[in-house]
């Protein structure tokens, strides 16, 4: 009898072991090639107590989103790293697990900056744990400004004039740069970095649906900035339609005097020494503020979220904790040159005393998080409006009216 009980137990235990499948984590930063990837993967694999597959999913956010939508109901992947816009889309599609219950019991929750956590809330529920954050600021070439006795612009008028002056008078140098390519997410983020000075929201999420709170005059003012930047000579017309590669690599190649970007561009120093020289010659200040506006810029917060259909929610959240731990965030964010949403990480001397990171951290409180709606359609509409202006299909006023009408048209489906 005893022997048969032992055999049965043994079979049960063995079969449980045989059928327990490893959990899956999709994390682009553990796949895409960058200077710190190997260290980050090694730290995760050596520190996690969970059985996790060593394939960390697609390298591109868009591909990860599409695959997640298609296969999430199989429970795979259990955990996914996203960008904020995608998190709202998946939360609205009911594919992510609300984490409030786990968050309330999470011992490290007080270490997080509240605005970063608030940014990951959709319909009153928390859908992710932040692991990296940044704001868009104005980066400028200190030597160019010093040698030409130029003041760093403080408002939009000064920005337009300074950019035009540099383009006209300094050989081989363009004063400023905007990305304006179709479906280029950076173009949309740059637009919002200026728009948020005029209005901290574009949409209002109410019980009866999503409403547009942007005003035509505000949209027109930002579109007019684009118009003047291109047609007053700050940006060459031949650079219309360029994407993030043109902007990032153009700046670190020394072709542009000013750009609005986030801290990730620090990574260029590992690609070529000359790019490091440009970055060492870089000043970091707030984006010039509209004459009738208040400081504000696009704030990015990247979340780690859990699949609603995961087979093991508890273990999945343990993985979330592993890839948002103090050690993990410090390693990843310090190597990538970005900010951490954790106070204990940002207070570490290596982060606090780093001129680049502290330069960005200084302006974190001006960061505005996206409204909690699905942003894919507004994003495309905003870029289309920018293009209507810079390709002179519409005046800024006409494009603003077109944009507002279309935002209102799609609002109910956001």
């Amino acid at each position: 009898m005893k022997r048969s009980v032992i055999v049965v137990l043994l079979v049960v235990v063995l079969s449980l072991f045989a059928f327990s499948k490893p959990l899956t984590l999709w994390h682009t930063q553990m796949v895409v090639e960058w200077a710190g990837r190997a260290d980050v993967v090694e730290l995760f694999e050596s520190s996690t107590d969970q059985d996790v597959e060593e394939d960390y999913g697609p390298a591109l956010y868009r591909e990860a989103l599409q695959k997640f939508i298609i296969q999430s109901k199989t429970g795979n992947p259990d955990v996914i790293e996203l960008v904020l816009e995608q998190m709202f889309t998946l939360a609205k599609g009911n594919l992510l697990l609300p984490l409030d219950e786990y968050w309330d019991d999470y011992e490290d929750k007080d270490q997080y900056y509240q605005n970063a956590v608030d940014a990951l809330t959709f319909n009153g529920k928390l859908y992710g744990v932040p692991y990296n954050t940044n704001v868009r600021l104005l980066l400028y070439r200190k030597s160019v400004f010093e040698e030409n006795d130029l003041e760093v612009p403080g408002n939009w008028e000064e920005l337009i004039n300074t950019a035009a002056y540099i383009t006209k008078n300094i050989d081989g140098m363009q004063g400023f740069m905007f990305t304006t390519k179709t479906r280029e997410v950076r173009a949309f983020q740059e637009f919002l970095s200026f728009y948020f000075q005029l209005n901290k929201h574009m949409f209002e999420v109410a019980d009866d649906g999503v409403k547009v709170v942007a005003k035509k005059e505000q949209l027109e003012q930002v579109l007019d900035l684009y118009y003047r930047m291109f047609f007053d000579g700050g940006i060459s017309l031949n650079e219309r339609g360029a994407d993030w590669k043109a902007l990032d690599y153009g700046y670190t190649s020394g072709n542009y005097a000013m750009v609005t970007v986030g801290p990730w561009i620090w990574g260029h120093r590992y690609e070529e020494e000359s790019r490091g020289d440009v970055l060492d010659d870089t000043g970091i200040v707030a984006i010039p503020v509209a004459e009738n506006g208040t400081p504000g810029t696009y704030m990015e917060v990247k979340p780690i979220s859990v699949n609603r259909f995961t087979d093991d929610k508890d273990k999945a959240f343990e993985i979330v904790k592993d890839v948002t731990s103090k050690e993990f965030q410090f390693l990843m964010d310090s190597q990538a040159g970005v900010l951490s949403p954790r106070k204990d990480v940002m207070n570490m001397p290596e982060m606090r005393d780093n001129w680049w990171l502290s330069g960005f951290a200084e302006y974190m409180d001006t960061g505005v998080a996206l409204d909690p709606v699905s942003w894919e359609q507004p994003q495309n509409l905003i870029i289309e409006a920018i293009q209507k202006v810079i390709y002179k299909q519409d005046t800024p006023e006409e494009a603003a009216e077109w944009l507002l009408n279309n935002l209102k048209r799609v609002a109910k489906s956001l």
Binding site: I69, T182, G241, K245
Partner: protein
């Protein structure tokens, strides 16, 4: 069972795995898309309701659809036309006994075997403002005023897309038509020469008619591929600037993956499939009737 029936049974048995695979990977998704096209299925509405032909009515009464349809036809006409003309020219060149032509036959296939994404990345880097290869060359030869982001200029973006299609697919035409040239009996040309036909007459009355079937195959295939092609445009211009390179295939993608309206995207896909089915049947019938 007679021997004949046994042979037939074996035949069916052999093709069964391929048929099952085809049904699973091609037939099922197409049928599913057909049914989805009559629903309001979306990411936010995963319990879709039947809405009849609403999706089709919305699409067919949308001026954007007809604009994109027109642009898609222009793209197909230009790309396939240029590919064919250049492909025939290259095939004739390959058919000549020139020195080193054997190596050329190998080398010309390189563009065709390079993945589309690599082709687009290569072109994109070449046309970037300031430090793209084309702009650097222009600067170095004193034509700096012509530099621009070529994919960002509405006047050049579409021709560049056509160029990428031609660059990639022309070798496929050349090799297929070269194989066709090799199968033309030399006696035809000898007889024509005796009758006093000149080179142009031999080309138009012997070569082209004899290339009818390989031509039909490459043209039908490339009309289908170009009509449905999405990656060249999406990866290079995203459909811009100001919609100047947007075609039906990129619209399907946008509807499905930017707006998450799967029902509407399915309807657009089914319309495209129907259009191509009509084209393929008509073209094949035309070629066959001509042959008869």
């Amino acid at each position: 069972m007679t021997r004949e029936k046994k042979r037939a049974f074996m035949g069916y048995l052999v093709v069964l795995p391929a048929l099952l695979l085809f049904a699973l990977l091609m037939f099922y998704p197409s049928v599913q898309a057909f049914f989805d096209s009559f629903t309001n299925y979306s990411l936010y509405n995963q319990v879709p309701g039947f809405i009849g032909t609403d999706n089709y009515e919305v699409l067919l009464t949308d001026p954007d659809f007809w604009e994109l349809f027109g642009r898609t036809l222009v793209l197909v006409g230009l790309a396939v036309g240029l590919q064919y003309v250049l492909g025939v020219t290259l095939a004739l060149l390959l058919n000549e006994n020139l020195k080193g032509m054997r190596w050329v036959r190998y080398i010309i296939m390189i563009p065709w075997v390079i993945p589309v994404v690599s082709t687009v990345v290569m072109y994109d880097w070449m046309v970037l403002p300031d430090y793209g290869l084309i702009n650097m060359l222009l600067k170095n030869i004193g034509l700096g005023h012509l530099t621009r982001y070529w994919f960002g200029d509405p006047a050049f973006a579409f021709p560049l897309i056509v160029t990428m299609h031609v660059w990639r697919n022309m070798p496929f035409y050349a090799i297929t038509l070269f194989a066709g040239l090799k199968s033309i009996p030399k006696g035809f040309y000898e007889a024509a020469e005796i009758d006093g036909a000149n080179a142009w007459q031999r080309f138009f009355h012997i070569t082209l008619p004899q290339l009818k079937y390989p031509s039909m195959i490459v043209i039908v295939l490339h009309v289908l591929w170009t009509f449905n092609n999405f990656d060249f445009i999406y990866l290079s211009t995203g459909g811009g600037p100001v919609g100047s390179t947007e075609v039906l295939a990129t619209k399907v993608y946008e509807t499905a993956w930017s707006y998450f309206e799967y029902g509407k995207a399915s309807a657009l896909g089914i319309l495209m499939m129907a259009l191509m089915l009509v084209f393929s049947l008509a073209y094949v019938k035309l070629v066959r009737s001509d042959q008869a």
